[in-house]
């Protein structure tokens, strides 16, 4: 058995970012999204009959590009040309292997193995930003519409 610990091991990013931005002079802490109720849709058919769509927070355009360019649907062949400058741990790791955040090849192997029906021909990008309103009113319905066009049954979402 491994050695026990005396503190929670996993990192609280809510605490960390509050302290970090507080020390940077931002007095009003960010209000993270919080809901009491959570929707739930059970699978209606076996995975080998499902088509999966992947949602990423990586960008199609470099930092500084307008927000609109960060909401996108792109053919899977473009999954190797994304920008990932955003908030991840630049000291501990890197994002040179796209499979670590957009696992198109790994999922294709699961399709090959018969664990999953198919991949959507496109993947979907959604911007991470401060505006929960824009995410709810603009981005989420757009992603849903793209998924419907592509006949997606189930979704994998990977925040960087």
């Amino acid at each position: 058995m491994a050695k026990g610990i005396s503190h929670r091991r996993y990192v609280s990013y809510i605490d960390k970012s509050r302290e970090y931005y507080g020390a940077s002079g931002y007095e009003q802490p960010y209000r993270w999204a919080h809901y009491e109720d959570v929707p739930f849709s059970p699978l209606t058919k076996p995975l080998p009959q499902c088509r999966m769509g992947i949602v990423t927070t990586a960008d199609q355009a470099p930092r500084g590009a307008p927000r609109a360019t960060r909401l996108f649907a792109a053919p899977n062949s473009e999954g190797r040309r994304l920008f990932t400058e955003k908030s991840w741990d630049h000291e501990a790791t890197h994002t040179n292997d796209p499979e670590t955040y957009l696992p198109l090849a790994r999922l294709a192997e699961h399709v090959e193995a018969g664990h999953l029906g198919a991949l959507s021909p496109r993947f979907y990008g959604v911007p991470t930003d401060y505006s929960q309103r824009l995410t709810l009113e603009q981005d989420a319905p757009r992603i849903e519409a793209w998924m419907c066009e592509d006949g997606v049954d189930i979704a994998l979402l990977v925040p960087l």
Partner: protein, 126 residues
């Protein structure tokens, strides 16, 4: 993406999130969450470790199939550090301490000056 997952789920598309910021995702509340306890950046497995990536992605499929109620979090067994020695990333990320407090305050001040300028230039986004 938690908000997008909730939207898709409500529209009848079952979802699973694979991520490393457990508190943020759970605070929002999502149907299915596969927690990978790694530094931010590689939730689907370590770089170039094809076998690990395949297993983690397989874990996401399994969670989609087997969760029967919302707010189901499953933690993957993979660990980032080989031993106790490199658990330091947990503290190092967004570190605030006596060694950088003054620098952070200064950088924040400079950033707000730039942002203030941009806002006057009709830039609405934070």
């Amino acid at each position: 993406v938690s908000l997008v997952a909730r939207h898709l789920e409500a529209a009848g598309i079952p979802t699973v999130i694979v991520g490393s910021a457990r508190d943020i995702v759970e605070e929002c509340g999502v149907p299915r969450f596969l927690f990978v306890d790694f530094p931010l950046g590689n939730p689907c497995g370590k770089p170039w470790n094809v076998e690990m990536q395949y297993k983690i992605v397989g874990g996401a499929l399994e969670l989609l199939e087997r969760a029967w109620m919302p707010r189901t979090t499953v933690q993957r067994p993979e660990t980032w550090a080989q031993g106790e020695a490199d658990e330091r990333w947990r503290e190092r990320y967004m570190w605030v301490g006596d060694d950088n407090r003054a620098a952070l305050a200064q950088a924040g001040e400079a950033r707000r000056r730039v942002q203030g300028g941009r806002r006057r230039g009709n830039e609405s986004e934070k």
